[in-house]
Amino acid sequence: MVPTHFYLVLAGILFTIGVIGVLVKRNPIVIFMCIELMLNAANLTFVALGRHFGQTNGQMYVVFALAVAAAEVSVGLGIIVMMFRQKETIDIDEVHLLKY
C-alpha cells in the first residue's frame, strides 16, 4: 500500500499547478480548467486521508464537491458565453468591470 504522504504531495503539486495556471492565464476558460484541477487535487486529498483513517467521510465530501463543481462549471461557462456576447472578447484583462 502506497503511503498517504505520496498522495498528499501529489495533490499538493496538482493544486499548485492549478494556482499557477489561474495566475498566468488570460483565457477564462483555461482559468476554469485550472480551478477544476485544484478541485480535483482537493478531492484526492480527501480520498487519501479517508483511506488513511479508514473512514467513509472523505469520500462523502468528494461526492458533494463533485456536485458543486458541476454546478459551478455550468454557471461559470454561462457567464463566459454572456461576456463574449457583450464584449466580443473573453480576454480577462479586457473584462475588469463588474458592471457593464
Binding site: T16, R26, N43, R51, M60, V63, E72, V73, G78
Partner: protein, 174 residues
C-alpha cells in the same frame, strides 16, 4: 505486490503532473481541455488505488464526461480554438506566479499537517470495502449520519445552477 503498487503510483503521478502542466502550457484551449481529460482519468485511477471505486466511476462520468463536454462545447461555440484569438503576452505576471507557486508548494509539503500526520494507517482489510457503492450509499442515506440533509440540499443547488445557466445564456427577449 508492494513494488507493483509503487510503480503504478509513480506512473500515474508522472502522467498526471505532466498533463496538468500541459493544461497550463498549451496555447490552444482545446488542447488544454484534452490534457485536462488525461489528468481527470489519472485521478480516477488513483481513486481506484485508494479503494474508492464508486468515486472513480463518478469521476469518469461527471468530470471526463459531462464537464469536459461542456468545456469543449463552449470553446467551439465561441470559436476560440484559433491560436491568434488570444495571445498570451509575456508580462510580469508569469515570474511572480512561478515564485508564488514555488513558495506555495514548499509551504504545502513542509506543512505541520503533513509532517505531524499520524503514521498509524488503517489496515488493508478495513479499507477493502471503503469505496463500494454499498458503503457509500449506506452512509449517504443514513439518517443518523450528517450526509442526508446535504444530499437533499445538493438537488436544490443543481436546480439553481440549471436555472442560472439558462438565464445567463439566453438571449434578450426584447
Amino acid at each position: 505486490m508492494l513494488t507493483a503498487s509503487y510503480i503504478l503510483f509513480w506512473i500515474l503521478a508522472l502522467i498526471g503532473i505532466g498533463s496538468a502542466l500541459m493544461v497550463v502550457l498549451a496555447r490552444n484551449p482545446v488542447r488544454s481541455a484534452l490534457f485536462l481529460v488525461v489528468t481527470f482519468l489519472t485521478v480516477a485511477v488513483l481513486y481506484i488505488t485508494l479503494s474508492a471505486q464508486f468515486l472513480a466511476a463518478v469521476q469518469v462520468m461527471v468530470y471526463a464526461g459531462a464537464i469536459m463536454v461542456l468545456f469543449l462545447f463552449v470553446i467551439m461555440l465561441l470559436n476560440l480554438s484559433a491560436p491568434e484569438a488570444l495571445k498570451e503576452r509575456g508580462t510580469i505576471q508569469r515570474p511572480i506566479a512561478l515564485i508564488l507557486g514555488a513558495m506555495f508548494i514548499t509551504a504545502l509539503i513542509f506543512s505541520q499537517a503533513l509532517l505531524e500526520m499520524p503514521t498509524k494507517a488503517a489496515h488493508a482489510e478495513e479499507i477493502a470495502n471503503l469505496g463500494t457503492v454499498q458503503t457509500i450509499g449506506l452512509s449517504l442515506y443514513n439518517p443518523n449520519l450528517p450526509w442526508l440533509f446535504p444530499f437533499e440540499i445538493t438537488s436544490i443547488l443543481l436546480l439553481i445552477a440549471v436555472i442560472g445557466a439558462i438565464v445567463l445564456a439566453k438571449r434578450k427577449l426584447d
